[in-house]
Structures are given as structure tokens and as C-alpha cells.
């Protein structure tokens, strides 16, 4: 029996439009999210949060809170003194602040009480003696040599990470250019705002083992951190991720309340649940970094890029989080869309006294993508070229290597561009619509899974187990978390395809460290690709076992059997067949039916520090055309229509892919026009509520035309690539370009609020340049870059799975 996961024809369930297998459970309320869980004797946990952006903690007095009837325990930083962080290089955060607070909203103490009211009341009885320190709220403040150091004592620059890399000879590239252009850009920070507020329930069993049910995207990383902070062997901790109600990156870091709930459960011996309030979600954050960018690019007169120098400055907030990776990501993927023969990247992340930034959908790449796309539009103008043509002239080739050692395999970028340009009628519209209406265009690429895990190890990035019971029931075990993106359905579809069953036939056990093998988590768009390949491996091994049993019964060699429609049949002779259940019985007579599948990404890292960020077994490509209607008098913008083509490789379930594309467009519209995680000078969030933080509603959501480009990727499961993040990327610069087309205002900053747009329009009326965007970026001395030889020999080898 053979399974060829890249076969393009003859698929039974892969590629069919079907609802998620858990759709009804999620719709009817049957799905139990972390906050729905409850246990006998459960206590309610709440956290006391800092009211200072920056302060030393002189002392914390919990005695009055402890004396309040109904309070079972109060803990402070002294009870959880071990620092942690999701990245091994950034172990800089404590669940409860120990001697210093670094943002308004940072947890300082936690209580467990019999109910929420008592817990709230107890928080008011905890007295914290603070010695306020100056708040540091911008990149400029952070870099001020006479300012305070947020981590450490004394003065200096609050640099968390500075990188400078040069690939190829950038100076020579600029010297060879006919046009060298520089632009500056700014991208405001914003937050994920998942519908489900994070919640964690922790309970110590009678056997002394700790179980933590948490709304997390990465149970494995939480498991590791809890073992470290609680000083328990991993084997004594079980982490379970119940169905998660949206993540977008908000639930990939280890969040303080997860540790606090676990510690309180250990201290009290009773189950403790902490659910964040909506305000607390804005403090918990880990969202999009505010980034200031400067870019210089050389072009030949016919528009070919000769060199690029890109500089990004990230306002990181108080802690490391994923920040080192975020910093590299702001420089890594520029080369995945355009052939850039020489490239220099300088990236800086500073600490400020605000909630920590981290990964949000597109992690570190929407900001530079915005900058690069807008910069290319500027260059196209100056070169007198059509923006689409400029992209096509520089488009990367499939199966090539970039100057920064990224391996490009399948690449549907040209097809994406052609499809959206023609479907939208872009060329007939650009420059031709009535004043106030405009169109914009942009392209992008994104990872299908980060090439390396976040901590160094040589174990598989994903494992899937499959077990079959004697009646034919199939149970699939995967560590991946379904955060609403439908990963469980996708894995079920992949396994069902190989076994000739229906996805709904399978029992899926996911995201439970006691029961499921490790998957690194639902981040970096890795699950379909990596867990999907592990599922193919496990299912193929199982099919082989079943085929051997069935072959014996049918008297044919196992290679001649096919799995289809619940039957195991002889190829070409469907009358000679066994039902799946009969085949399983035959195979079970030969031993246990249980298999494991694994996925390792190929070795891809280049010969330099930081080369682990940006590599991926495959890149998805997207292109978008956006049409806007604006009000030239009031500066209001409405995104009317979006055409988006996404190179998915293969849509395992087109409904889910379309859902991801549409969700990405929705989120991009918010980031382009209204969303902003901003702070007042006291360091407090401007409006930590869903009324004040402006997420688009359905009324702001445009008409979306999704076009899927399906050219199977040689290493993807059935050829699939990612869909969860990439489609967000081109939409933001395309909205900005459309506003420019509509009004002639230069847009180098998002969000494009009516305030900003009207200010620019009025400047235009006064004869000044109508611009939304910064005049410069903060200066920072990066020093000499690490020089890296570009790869020799361009074609990329592909690992055939």
C-alpha cells in the first residue's frame, strides 16, 4: 500500500468544503473554554496590579488581606521568585513583581478567595509601598543616556537587542544604482483582542500532581516554564489547553496569571481559577510592537533592486517576551518577495515601561511589510513605473535562495499578483476613480512554520500518535491547540484522507501534555504544515499495519490495497474488499494498532547568528488590491472592497482557508484605520475596553473576494502551506496606497485615523506637503554589521518527505 501525500488528483476529503468538526460544539456552547471549567471547592484568584509605570517596591503588606474572612491565600513576588521567559535568552519576567514594577498593570500580588467579591476586596487590603521611578514611554526616552535603566540600576540606554547584518556588498549595490531612495515609516502598536479573555484553572491532585487547564496556544512552552518556576519536575505537571477562543499570538507567551493560578493551587491545595477581565487583557498584551523604520533602496532605471538597507526600531515594552525573535523578524522576510542582491539590516528593540509587546498575527513582519511596500510605491512613482510592474520585475523565483540564506521553494506570487490585479480591475481604476475613491496594491510572504523551535533541541517539531480500537474507532493524539483556526479539523481531514474515512469518524485528543505527544504550539503558522506532516507520517504507518492484516485476509500483497470510502479494497477490483472495521480486526490479530508520526523541518539555517529567524520549510504568498472610499472634507476612510489572492499550496479545507483569509483582512483593516494600543503620559493605557479600543465591527468589514492559488508545495501536507497570518500582510499597505490614490496624501504611518488624515489634508490646502508619517526615526549607533557571504549556487534543494 502506498500513500502519496502530494498526489494532486483523486482526493476524497482533502480539498472539500466542510464545516469544522467542532463547529456545533462551539456554536451551541457545548465546548467548554477554560473559564467554563469549574471544580468542587474551587477558589477564585485575582491579581493586584501596579498603578505605576515604573517603581521600586519597598514592601508589600498582605496581612490585612489574609485576615479577611474568605481569603485562603495571598502570594507575592517572594513566593514565585524564579524569573522566566518564553525565549531562553530572555528570562526576565516574574509572575508577580519582586522588587520593581515596569508597567501599569503588572501583577504584584495574587489572592485566592472563596468568591470574586472577596478576592476583589482582598486586593484592596494589600498595601504596596512604592518608590516611583520615571516612566519611559518612547524609543527616544529609552535611548536617552541620562534616563533611567528599566532593567538594572543607574542610567544608560535601555537596549534589549541590537542587530546589524550585511549580506553581500550593499555599498557596491548602491553605487550601481540609478536611483537611491530613502523613506521613513511608523507603525503603531496594537493588540490582539481575542474574544476569549485568557483564563487558567489549576488543581493539585490527591497524588500531588498539578494539572493546569489554560487558554494557551502553546501548552508545551507553558509546561516547561511552569516546571522551572514552580520547581517541579515536568512529569508532575499536566498542562491541558481546552478549546481556545481566539489567540492571534496573545496566548503564546507564558502569562503571569498562568503561573499565579498554579502557585495558588499549590499553596492552598484547592483548585484555583483566574480569568482576566477585559481591562487585564490589555495589560497582558504581548501584541504588535510599535516600530519606526527607515529604508534605503537602490534601483536600476528599469526598476531592478540593486541593494536595500533596512533599519527598524521596536518599542518593546517592559519585558523580553518573544522580542528578540520579533526584532529579527522585522528584517528577515523582505527578501522572500523581492530579489535583493545585497541587503543590510539593522534592528533595535528597546525596553519601555509599558505592557510587553510580543507576537501578533504576522509577528514582526506587518510593520516592515508596510514600509517596504509603501517604499516600492514611492520608487515606482519616481521611476515612472507601474507599481505592479515594479513588483513583477523584482519577484523572487521559485526554488531559489535569498541573499540572507532563506530557502524559497514553491512560490505562487506571480499568480497571486495576476489574479488580484485582473479581478479587481486595478489598472482601470488606479488614478481614474473620482476624487475620494482610490485603489491600492501590495504583496507579501509569510512562513509556514518557524524553521526552528524557540529553545534549541534536536527533537521533532511535531509528533502525532494514532491508536485504533478493535471496533475500528480511530483516535488521533496531537499536542496542537485548536484556537479557532480549525487545526483539529485539519488534522482529522488529513488522517481521514489517508485511511479512507471521514474526518467526523475520528476521535481527536489534543493539547494535553499527559495524553498527547509534543507539538510546539499554534504559532508561526506551523500546525497545518508541521503537525499535518506528522499526521501523514502516523496515518501512513497505520495504513501500512492495517494493509498488512487486510492483505493476508484478501490474499493480495499489501501494496495493492487502497483506502477509500470506509473500505480497504484491492486496487482496480473494488469487489475484493474489507470494511474498515473488518480490516482493523484482521490487523489487530497481528498486534497492537498504534503508530507515531513525526515531523522535522529540514536543516535550513544560514551561517550567521539569528539565521534561525525567518527560515521556514515553505512560504505562502499573498497579493491584495484594496478599494477605499474617503471623505476629503472630514478625513474619514472606509474600506469598500478587497480582492486578495493567497498562495495556499493546497487548501485542505477551503472553507477554513477562506475563513483565515477573511479574518486576516478584517484584522488588517483595523490595524490600517483604527486600532492603536497607546498610552497616556502616566503610562496608562488610553482606553482598555472594547468601547475605546477601536476594533472594526461587521459594518467596517469590506466585501472580500478571496482567490486561492493552489500549486502544491513539495514538502507541504498534500501540498498545503499556511493561511493564518500571511493574508493580513499586504492589506495594510494596500489600504494606505488606496488612500493615497483617493486623496493624494502620502501615507507612511498607520493607523490612518480621521484626525491624522484631516491634518494632512489641511496641510495640503495650506500649500504644505500632505503627509501622514514621521519626519525621521530616532538615531542609534548600530556599529559595524556582521558580514555574511550570500549563499553560493542558487537553486534550493527540496527535501522530499
Amino acid at each position: 500500500m502506498t500513500v502519496d501525500p502530494s498526489r494532486t488528483d483523486d482526493l476524497a476529503v482533502v480539498g472539500t468544503r466542510r464545516p469544522k468538526i467542532d463547529a456545533m460544539a462551539r456554536l451551541t456552547g457545548e465546548a467548554r473554554y477554560a473559564d467554563d471549567l469549574s471544580m468542587p471547592g474551587m477558589l477564585v484568584g485575582r491579581q493586584l496590579r501596579s498603578i505605576h509605570a515604573h517603581a521600586r517596591i519597598r514592601s508589600v503588606d498582605t496581612s490585612r488581606a489574609e485576615a479577611l474572612p474568605g481569603v485562603v491565600a495571598v502570594i507575592t513576588g517572594r513566593d514565585v521568585p524564579i524569573a522566566y521567559g518564553v525565549l531562553p535568552v530572555s528570562q526576565d519576567e516574574n509572575a508577580l513583581a519582586v522588587d520593581r514594577v515596569r508597567y501599569v498593570g503588572e501583577p504584584v500580588a495574587a489572592v485566592a478567595a472563596v468568591d470574586e467579591e472577596t478576592a476583589e476586596q482582598a486586593l484592596r487590603l494589600v498595601s504596596v509601598d512604592y518608590e516611583p521611578l520615571p516612566a519611559v514611554l518612547s524609543i527616544e526616552d529609552a535611548l536617552d543616556p541620562s534616563g533611567v535603566l528599566i532593567h538594572g540600576e543607574g542610567q544608560g540606554a535601555n537596549v534589549h537587542k541590537a542587530v546589524a547584518l550585511e549580506f553581500g556588498d550593499v555599498d557596491a549595490g548602491f553605487a550601481a544604482a540609478d536611483l537611491v531612495r530613502e523613506d521613513v515609516f511608523s507603525f503603531a502598536g496594537n493588540t490582539h483582542a481575542p474574544l476569549e479573555q485568557p483564563a487558567t484553572l489549576a488543581a493539585l491532585g490527591g497524588d500531588g500532581r498539578l494539572t493546569v487547564w489554560s487558554a494557551t496556544q502553546a501548552p508545551h512552552y507553558l509546561h516547561r516554564a511552569l516546571a522551572r518556576v514552580l520547581e517541579l519536575p515536568s512529569s508532575r505537571i499536566r498542562v491541558v489547553a481546552p478549546p481556545v477562543g481566539g489567540g492571534f499570538g496573545a496566548k503564546t507567551d507564558i502569562l503571569p496569571h498562568e503561573v499565579a493560578a498554579a502557585k495558588l493551587a499549590m499553596v492552598t491545595g484547592r483548585p484555583v481559577k483566574i480569568t482576566l477581565t477585559r481591562e487585564e487583557v490589555f495589560h497582558s498584551h504581548r501584541g504588535r510592537h510599535p516600530v519606526q523604520m527607515w529604508v534605503r533602496t537602490g534601483f536600476t532605471s528599469d526598476g531592478r533592486i540593486t541593494a536595500m538597507h533596512f533599519r527598524s526600531l521596536l518599542d518593546g515594552g517592559a519585558y523580553g517576551s518573544f522580542g528578540v525573535a520579533s526584532t529579527y523578524y522585522t528584517g528577515a522576510l523582505q527578501t522572500t518577495t523581492y530579489r535583493i542582491p545585497a541587503y543590510r539590516f539593522e534592528g533595535l528593540r528597546v525596553f519601555t515601561t509599558k505592557p510587553p509587546c510580543g507576537p501578533k498575527r504576522g509577528h514582526g513582519t506587518p510593520q516592515p511589510r508596510f514600509a517596504v511596500e509603501r517604499h516600492l510605491d514611492r520608487a515606482a512613482e519616481e521611476l515612472g513605473l507601474d507599481p505592479v510592474e515594479l513588483r513583477l520585475r523584482n519577484a523572487v523565483e521559485p526554488f531559489s535562495r535569498t541573499v540572507n540564506h532563506l530557502r524559497i521553494t514553491s512560490c505562487g506570487m506571480r499568480a497571486c499578483i495576476e489574479e488580484v490585479v485582473s479581478a479587481s480591475g486595478y489598472h482601470g481604476k488606479k488614478g481614474h476613480l473620482p476624487r475620494g475613491r482610490g485603489v491600492g496594491f501590495a504583496v507579501s510572504a509569510y512562513l509556514s512554520g518557524a524553521g526552528l523551535p524557540i529553545y534549541w533541541n534536536d527533537m521533532p517539531q511535531s509528533e502525532v500518535h494514532i491508536k485504533v480500537d478493535r471496533g475500528g474507532g480511530v483516535t488521533v493524539f496531537s499536542g496542537a491547540t485548536d484556537i479557532g483556526q480549525g487545526s483539529t479539523s485539519t488534522l482529522a481531514t488529513i488522517v481521514a484522507e489517508i485511511l479512507g474515512l471521514q474526518p467526523e469518524d475520528l476521535a481527536m485528543v489534543t493539547a494535553d501534555t499527559d495524553l498527547t505527544p509534543v507539538d510546539l504550539g499554534s504559532y508561526s503558522s506551523r500546525v497545518t504544515f508541521m503537525a499535518g506532516n506528522a499526521a501523514i507520517d502516523a496515518a501512513s504507518k497505520l495504513a501500512r499495519l492495517v494493509a498488512e492484516g487486510a492483505a493476508q485476509r484478501l490474499g493480495v500483497p499489501p501494496e495493492e490495497l487502497v483506502f477509500r470510502g470506509g473500505q480497504v479494497a484491492v486496487r482496480g477490483d473494488p469487489r475484493k474488499s474489507l470494511s474498515w472495521a473488518q480490516a482493523v480486526r484482521a490487523a489487530s490479530a497481528r498486534g497492537a494498532l498504534m503508530t507515531s508520526g513525526v515531523y522535522w523541518a529540514p536543516e535550513m539555517a544560514g551561517p550567521y547568528r539569528g539565521s534561525g529567524v525567518g527560515i521556514s520549510p515553505a512560504y505562502s504568498y499573498s497579493a491584495a488590491v484594496v478599494e477605499v472610499a474617503t471623505d476629503p472634507e472630514t478625513g474619514e476612510v472606509s474600506v469598500e472592497e478587497v480582492w486578495i489572492a493567497h498562495d495556499i499550496g493546497r487548501a485542505i479545507n477551503p472553507v477554513l482557508v477562506q475563513g483565515q483569509v477573511e479574518g486576516s483582512v478584517y484584522m488588517a483593516v483595523g490595524e490600517a484605520l483604527m486600532e492603536e494600543q497607546s498610552f497616556r503620559r502616566q503610562g496608562v493605557h488610553r482606553g482598555p475596553s472594547l468601547l475605546d479600543y477601536k476594533l472594526p465591527t461587521t459594518l467596517e468589514t469590506p466585501k472580500i473576494h478571496t482567490i486561492l492559488i493552489e500549486e502544491p508545495d513539495p514538502e507541504g501536507p498534500f501540498g498545503a502551506k499556511e493561511a493564518g497570518q500571511g493574508p493580513l500582510l499586504p492589506v495594510i499597505p494596500a489600504v494606505a496606497a488606496a488612500v493615497e490614490d483617493a486623496l493624494g496624501v502620502v501615507v507612511h504611518e498607520v493607523p490612518i485615523t480621521p484626525d491624522r488624515l484631516l491634518r494632512a489634508l489641511r496641510a495640503g490646502h495650506r500649500g504644505k506637503a500632505p503627509v501622514i508619517g514621521p519626519a525621521s526615526v530616532p538615531s542609534f549607533e548600530f556599529g559595524e554589521p556582521e558580514r555574511v557571504q550570500p549563499p553560493v549556487g542558487s537553486p534550493a534543494e527540496v527535501a522530499v518527505p
Binding site: 476583589e120 472634507e633 472630514t634 478625513g635 488610553r686 465591527t697 485615523t753 484626525d755
Partner: protein
């Protein structure tokens, strides 16, 4: 958001009983109708009440009736969704109701609650922790205004959508209190003081909104907000004109919402319109003048500068739609 603090809830069946209960409970008690404004404010600990008199079960206080002498009475506990869908009321009033908050909130929120809505400020409508971090302000427990610290005045914003259009329609309210009942123009319900913004007498309850017959009056309401739903107005423009047959404006009323602690009448602009035809030039002139009395502060989502800039544009568009 925190949970509601404990309070006593009283449920009178008649308006007289409600007035009596409110008086009995003394200062610190209040009425509640839909609770869509009051409860979130209590959860954020902006206000505290030991007792709430819930008007929802009061008989005869809900519904829209035609008055015997012409005009319409809208009971104070009439739901916004009911008003929004009513064909008995002037179109502009139904439209104003239809753009308040969101469908769910309109199903709970009432006309009386909207007329009596607390003023809002981006330094005030925040959770208690937030205000502890920033420092409290004049309107609640503090001694300084965070928006304009130099003056000891509160600039919290009158942010409800019905009052401007009610004023433009020439509507009145009937209020009932311990000292009896009185009927007065809607404009007189408000004081330009962010803290003490209602001119109700102690213990008074708004019983109904009385809208006179439209009788040829042309009325419109424009709401400027960030999103097509949920958001409070950043600016509200209500305008009404009475045109003589030859197109001359006999009388005009222009009222701005969300630019002060009370709805703002634009008398200069109104005077500019009186006796003149609504030509584009006349409209532009009046629209420019309409911005004069408005002094928006930096305490809503969009900047005060922006809000000031766009007043003439929206007044002009409102008047154009009436011409």
C-alpha cells in the same frame, strides 16, 4: 470589569411610588431604567449608590402615544429600539435613536436614560484601577480636572444622541418629583457643568418626552462616530428649519451634541439663516458660525482639534439636507 457593588433594588409599580421611594432612600439613591449606562459606571466605581429605584415595572411609563391636542408623548422607559422603529415619531428622532450604541443596548436602553445620561470623559469613564494610577478628578473623588487642570471646572461631555434632536424639534420633558410635576423645554434639562449636568430638582424623575406636531418643520440629525455601531457620538448635529413657500428660512434651530457638557445651541448661525434662503453661500456662512460656541476639549476619542474642524462641515451637510 469589576462586578457590581452591592445595592438595594426597589421596584415601584407606579410613578408616585417611585418618587416616594427615591425620596425615602435619601441622597445616594438613584433611578435606573435600562441600566446600560448606570451599571457599567457603577462597575467601574465612577458612581456609588446604596439603592436604585428601578423604573422598568412602573405602569404607564412605557410607550409612544399621540396626544389629544396633537403631538406625541414618549414614555421615559420606552426602549430605544421601539423608538427607532416607530413611524409615529418624527423621522429624525427615530433615526437618532437608531444610531445609538448597538442593537443589544438599544433593546435595553430607554429614552429617559438617554435624556439623563451621565456626561462622559476619557479620563473618567475608566476602571477604578486606571483612575487610581492616573489620579482621580473633580467629577469623582479628585480635586483637579485632568483635561484642563488650570480651571476647577469639569468639561465632561454630553454624549447622548436624543437631546440635540429633541431640542431641534422643540420638545419638552415632563418631570415628576416630591414637589409635584412640571413640564419644560428639553434644553432646560441641562446645565453646562460636567458634574452637575442635569437641572432636575432633587428627587425628580423624567416621566415623558413631549414632541410637538412637526407641522412642516424640517428636521435632521447627523452623528459622527468612529464606527458604524456601538460608538458614542464624537459630534452630533441636529438642525431644524421652517421654510416659507418661496424657500426663505423663517426659523432655524441648530444644536450640537458632544462638544460641551450640555447640548449647545448655535444662535449666531441660526440668526444668520433667519429670513434668508438656504443657498450654498448662506449655508456656508451659517455653518462657519456654528462652530463658534463649541469648545470641545481633548476628552473623547477623536481630538478636540478635529472635532472643532469638522463642525462647519457637518452643520453645512445637515442644512443642505434640509434645503
Amino acid at each position: 470589569m469589576m462586578r457590581l457593588p452591592p445595592f438595594a433594588r426597589l421596584a415601584p409599580r407606579t410613578l408616585a411610588e417611585a418618587v416616594e421611594m427615591l425620596a425615602d432612600q435619601g441622597p445616594g439613591a438613584a433611578v435606573v431604567a435600562g441600566g446600560t449606562d448606570l451599571y457599567p459606571n457603577m462597575k467601574r466605581r465612577q458612581v456609588e449608590h446604596h439603592a436604585l429605584v428601578d423604573l422598568r415595572a412602573v405602569e404607564g411609563m412605557r410607550g409612544i402615544r399621540e396626544e389629544p391636542g396633537g403631538g406625541i408623548s414618549i414614555g421615559a422607559t420606552t426602549r430605544l429600539s421601539h423608538l427607532a422603529g416607530s413611524s409615529a415619531v418624527p423621522r429624525a428622532l427615530a433615526h437618532a435613536a437608531s444610531v445609538i450604541a448597538s442593537p443589544q443596548i438599544r433593546n435595553m436602553g430607554t429614552v429617559g436614560g438617554n435624556l439623563c445620561l451621565d456626561t462622559r470623559c476619557s479620563w473618567y469613564n475608566e476602571p477604578e484601577d486606571w483612575r487610581t494610577a492616573v489620579g482621580f478628578c473633580l467629577k469623582a473623588a479628585g480635586d483637579v480636572c485632568r483635561v484642563a487642570p488650570a480651571k476647577s471646572h469639569c468639561w465632561a461631555v454630553a454624549s447622548s444622541d436624543l437631546p440635540p434632536v429633541a431640542i431641534a424639534l422643540g420638545a419638552s420633558v415632563r418631570a415628576v418629583g416630591p414637589g409635584g410635576e412640571r413640564t419644560f423645554p428639553v434644553a432646560d434639562l441641562y446645565r453646562d457643568d460636567g458634574i452637575d449636568h442635569l437641572a432636575l430638582l432633587p428627587g425628580e424623575i423624567v416621566a415623558e418626552l413631549l414632541v410637538p406636531p412637526v407641522d412642516g418643520l424640517r428636521v435632521t440629525y447627523r452623528k459622527i462616530r468612529r464606527r458604524g455601531s456601538i460608538d458614542f457620538p464624537e459630534l452630533g448635529v441636529a438642525a431644524s428649519v421652517r421654510l416659507a413657500p418661496e424657500g426663505i428660512c423663517e426659523a432655524a434651530t441648530i444644536v450640537l451634541g458632544s462638544v460641551a457638557s450640555a447640548p449647545v445651541r448655535c444662535r449666531e448661525a441660526e440668526d444668520l439663516l433667519a429670513g434668508r434662503p438656504l443657498t450654498p453661500e448662506v449655508i456656508e456662512e451659517a455653518a462657519a458660525a456654528a462652530a463658534h460656541p463649541a469648545k470641545p476639549q481633548d476628552n473623547t476619542d477623536l481630538s478636540h482639534v478635529y472635532r472643532k474642524w469638522v463642525i462647519p462641515i457637518h452643520v453645512s451637510r445637515a442644512l443642505q439636507s434640509l434645503s
